[in-house]
């Protein structure tokens, strides 16, 4: 019996990062094989109008990935959900789950927005700092969304990139520079990228080493949620302590 | 032998009870939320005298004690001792 876990990704059409980073993370798992299947929603510019238009395509994407018989489905656009109002990930996840269940699919449903919030809760994070690629008004909505979930955002940066393709090309040193400018005093967890399109996987471990606090990204939180949802051990190296949650403690 | 039927105490059934009470051969006594309507051997109630609508008329009988319905139509209800 093939034990490959099929992961469905619902991504904005201009997103290239989530399909790069998610396989890079999960393929390091030694307990499970993963395959990745995506369906795209048209979106080029990260504006409220385009995000709303994109959400309307969700139903089609769910059907496409349902046809592929995926085991778990991740709605991989954080800001699309967080900009639609407080707690919106619950309604989005419920809508997808209802659609799947109506068609007799048992696929697990996640969203990158819900995964980030749930992961922060699982880590016991009370105060965080974060870096986003968004224009300031959208970034403010993301901050308000997270704070509404009971997590204080002590400091944050918005890199103010509107074009989503360009978000996928933001250099790592720019993200790190923004992170270094944050006041991390009293911060439990640093979210180095609150966006699954802004590349950050190679920054998570170095940032954790440099700042001395747990560092996550929307992608590592998504991977954590995927592993938890299928009941697989969370034991992946080189992407921050979050993904080593279930690792055997090495003998000292 | 006595013929006896029960009718539930409802506003709609009152016509049946009134007609029974007006008949000297019929005895009407309350039993719980019902009226016991009895007579020696046979009870006959004229539907038109009761003023009941059809739906009420055909659902008025709640119980039959040692008795049997021998007529229940647009004209009359007849209950006889078994």
């Amino acid at each position: 019996m093939d034990n490959t876990v099929k992961v469905g990704l619902i991504v904005p059409s201009s997103n290239t990062t989530v399909e790069t980073e998610m396989p890079r993370i999960l393929n390091r798992s030694t307990s499970q094989n993963f395959s990745f299947h995506s369906s795209r929603m048209r979106m080029k510019s990260v504006s409220k109008e385009q995000l709303r238009a994109m959400n309307a395509q969700r139903e089609r994407c769910v059907i496409e990935l349902g046809d592929a018989g995926v085991d778990v489905m991740l709605y991989a656009c954080l800001v699309a959900i967080m900009s639609t109002g407080a707690g919106a990930h619950r309604a989005a996840e419920f809508g997808i789950a209802e659609q799947l269940a109506t068609g007799g699919s048992g696929a697990k449903v996640l969203s990158s927005a819900g995964a980030l919030v749930e992961t922060l809760h699982a880590m016991g994070a009370k105060t965080i700092a974060l870096v986003t690629p968004y224009l300031r008004p959208l970034a403010e909505e993301v901050v308000a969304y997270i704070e509404h979930e009971g997590i204080r955002v002590a400091d944050w940066r918005a890199l103010e990139v509107a074009d989503n393709a360009e978000v996928g090309r933001i250099p790592g040193n720019r993200v790190m520079a923004a992170a270094r400018s944050l006041d991390l005093d009293g911060v439990d967890v640093l979210v180095i990228s609150a966006c699954v399109q802004m590349p950050s996987l190679d920054l998570v471990q170095p940032a954790e080493d440099e700042f001395g606090i747990p560092v996550i990204s929307a992608a590592t939180a998504g991977a954590f949620a995927i592993l938890r949802s299928i009941g697989a051990p969370v034991d992946i190296d080189g992407a921050g302590s979050l993904l080593r949650t279930d690792a055997a403690v090495p003998a000292s | 032998m006595t013929a006896r039927l029960f009718v539930l105490k409802t506003p709609e059934n009152q016509g049946v009870v009134d007609v029974a009470e007006g008949d000297p051969s019929i005895s009407v006594v309350p039993v719980g939320p019902y009226f016991s309507i009895s007579a020696p051997s046979t009870i006959v109630i004229d539907r038109r005298a009761t003023g009941c609508r059809h739906a009420v008329w055909y659902s008025a009988v709640a119980g039959l004690d040692q008795s049997v319905i021998t007529q229940h139509d647009k004209d009359a209800l007849r209950v006889e001792a078994r």
Binding site: E59 | F6, L8, A55, A62, G63
Partner: protein, 224 residues
Amino acid sequence: MSEQELEVVKPEHRVHGVDHAAFPTFNPAATVRFYRDILKFPVVHSICAAGWGPEDHPDFIHFFFDIGNDDRIAFFYYFGLEPFGDQSAPGDAWARLTPDTPLFFKNSRHLAIHVNDEEDLLEYRKRLDASEWPVEMQVTHETIESIYTHDPNGYMVEITRSLRPVTPEEDFDAVLTIDALVDVFEAGEPTLDALLTRKAELIVARAEQWESAQLPIRDSELIP
């Protein structure tokens, strides 16, 4: 407040009405006309899906109309699916019965939707009478008044109002009737005559219970 008052005891009967009742349709356009445009029931939800379970299953849409009180009637439309059975036989979109099936039996399964008063009942009568699906009958039962029609799928739909509230006497009577029904059915002699005979025994046996139940304040009397 005493400890007893603080203790929350959930009632035995905990359900809250119809979430939704769902039916198949082979004519979604007429179904939408009937429920949304004629009866003016708002469309409140829809789900597009495909069959991902083990069974061979067409793509479909599941859509919902509000029937008041947060309750809903829902339909499934399966793309490319043809109706089953002999379409000239009595039945509806869900099933066709054998040709000799009497109409009373076919119509026995129906949905009744509540309205508050005569004005509202007549309003729905007016809407239906002006449509392709006029009221087929208007009936005054013992304590209710109803209008009936069949929707575009052949489902019987009733709209009904109460002429007066149900009394405690009627509730008591219903309990006795059902006890008598179960008794005569299980005795292998299910006739109306047997039921009324059994019920007479129960009336006499439980008259005292009724009298004593009248002394404490009844729940139904607490409701204004």
